[in-house]
Amino acid sequence: MSHVPPPFDPELAAALDLIKDVLSPGLAPDEIDAVRQGPGIQMLAELDLTLDGCFKVEDRTVPGPEGAPDISLLICRPTAQEFVGVAQPVLYHVHGGGMVLGNNRVGVDGPLAWAKELGAVVVSVEYRLAPENPYPAQIEDVYAGLVWTAAHAAEIGGDPERIVLAGASAGGGLSAALALLTRDRKGPRPLGQLLMCPMLDDRNETLSSHQMAGLGVWDRTANETGWGALLGDLRGGPDVPAYAAPARAEDLSGLPPAFLDVGSAETFRDEVVAYASRLWQAGGRAELHVWPGGFHGFDGFAPQAALSQAARAAQLTWLRRLLGD
């Protein structure tokens, strides 16, 4: 079986060339530090969080997991008069970065754009990064943030019954894991999970992971680095918990409705498609979009492209249906 990769969408291919100086397909463990300091992460995190005054922005420090440091939540509340004083949906955002990069600003522009349309509150959680903090630091931080958000929803203008988990890449994987964890711990019950190109499977052995080696963004080398940082020697072995890699979950029943999207030309294509299939097989509700010629995170890196506009419109449409807007 040869591994001819699907071609990138023309516009996305051109955009990829433009960003190749700050984003390369691979990531080795010894390159993590340099990328953390580099322009790519800054670029993704540099934005006007108020969206021209549509949001009031604050950073709240809230209790972390038991025995662990506090965590920081970025809270963006809509300022329009029609939304003030009425409990609004909450988009609980978990940032991406392969478990080793990023902060709670990264990628929050997507949720803010939806929130502007929906009048929602955005809460973006900071979590400890690997490899300094291996599993389960990330998922426990993210869980602690969700518990706080549900308990204090009224304080931030949110409706605890209408919390939607959302994240891209590692943030998508953590959102999926969070849905599993809060189901099993009988914690807060999210209304839905919006998983954008989620990082789900530590085994790194799907056909798409081989097919896209050395291409696009986040190839199998980078993926091995990310999962290795999170799990150390456990990675790929028999003992990886579902809360670390949701693809390992045996029981996918009883989860909130899911939205999943992924590009056809990326490492995660096959694991995302498989996860959606398993959600349906478990009797769940899931909507899956595979965007032809999309590279990993294309709609975040090249939001102007026609394919990105379509992908973002699909995300918002799903949220509107979920929230009955």
Partner: protein, 329 residues
């Protein structure tokens, strides 16, 4: 992309950004992106809306800096930076930058975008006046509004209620003909799309282009059909997705090429074997005696390494001959 383009222009208003702009449009042109993608590239890189207007060809595309397409009735402002599609021609592409001061980056964006737009227009509509290429392009453009496409169908003298098909000539621009044309098909290599309602002509066009890839010159060096009908390909059409033009040929194709390099009669003979119902018919087709054909096949089997006179071997030969056409760039 926007942030990056902004960073580049802020950091290095001349050389660095210009290099990126050139690479961006080169890449779009390479992958045969359409007009909207090119205009969007100009808008996004410049950070202002861009528009392409070519009244003669009935082309009108306007894209805002965030990449969304939004048309306007307002005429272009003469003060905006602009470029013509032909040297000395009227402006056709604008960056909607008010109070613009001359900028190297704007100039490079306009120059590269206009060049790429010109290529697309030449490729997609050619020059012959007989049937207006702009109308053909509109009919074949799935994103054009249906009323505009129906209008263009009438402009081409076609009956909007009658089935039609798209033709993809190897040399020449796209054509649209009735399902059963009264005049003959154009000469030369040709992909013929399936007949269907005129609003489905974009599909017929896509299928015709696939069919074109299965055609050959019909010479001894390149034997095969000059005209291929998309709806006669059946499952064979799936091969077109698997074998990219210019890709590394499959081992059987390499074996064919290697054998053909030393054996002048090989390709024509094998094509005759693959495309006729019997070896007798193949011998007639090749103008050789039946026993000569048998000798040639023995020789060819030796060169290729697989049998040619079994059903499986013939299928393998047929696939190899077909993939050979598909892998040509």
């Amino acid at each position: 992309m926007k942030e990056l383009a902004g960073r580049l222009t802020a950091l290095d208003p001349d050389a660095g950004a210009a290099v990126q702009v050139i690479a961006y449009f080169d890449r779009l042109a390479e992958s045969r992106a359409g007009l909207e993608a090119l205009v969007r590239g100009a808008a996004v890189l410049a950070g202002v809306p861009a528009r392409l207007v070519d009244a003669d060809r009935r082309v009108r595309v306007r894209v805002e800096a965030d990449g969304t397409r939004r048309e306007t009735d307002l005429p272009p402002d003469a003060a905006w930076p602009s470029a013509a599609l032909t040297p000395g021609g009227a402006p056709a592409l604008w960056l909607e930058r008010a109070q613009a001061t001359p900028s190297v980056v704007d100039a490079v964006i306009l120059e590269r975008a206009a060049g790429a737009v010109r290529l697309v227009l030449d490729r997609t509509r050619g020059r012959a006046p007989a049937d207006d290429p702009a109308l053909v392009e509109t009919v074949l453009d799935a994103t054009a509004p249906e009323p505009a496409r129906l209008h263009a169908v009438r402009g081409l003298g076609l009956d909007p209620a009658a089935p039609a098909r798209a033709l993809a000539p190897h040399d020449g621009r796209p054509r649209i003909v009735p399902a059963h044309p009264e005049t003959g098909l154009p000469a030369g290599r040709l992909g013929v799309g399936p007949a269907g309602p005129v609003l489905e002509l974009p599909h017929s066009w896509a299928a015709a282009r696939v069919a074109l890839r299965f055609t050959a010159d019909g010479t001894a060096q390149d034997p095969g059909p000059r005209v291929v009908y998309a709806d006669e390909l059946g499952g064979i059409a799936l091969l077109a997705d698997l074998v990219a033009p210019g890709s590394e040929p499959a081992p059987d194709v390499r074996a064919l090429e290697a054998a053909a390099a030393t054996t002048p009669w090989l390709l024509a003979t094998l094509h005759a074997v693959a495309s006729t119902a019997s070896l007798r018919a193949a011998a007639t087709e090749s103008n050789v005696h039946h026993s000569t054909l048998q000798d040639r096949l023995t020789h060819a089997e030796h060169l290729l390494g697989w049998p040619l006179r079994t059903p499986q071997g013939r299928l393998r030969l047929h696939l190899a001959l077909t993939m050979r056409h598909l892998s040509r760039s």
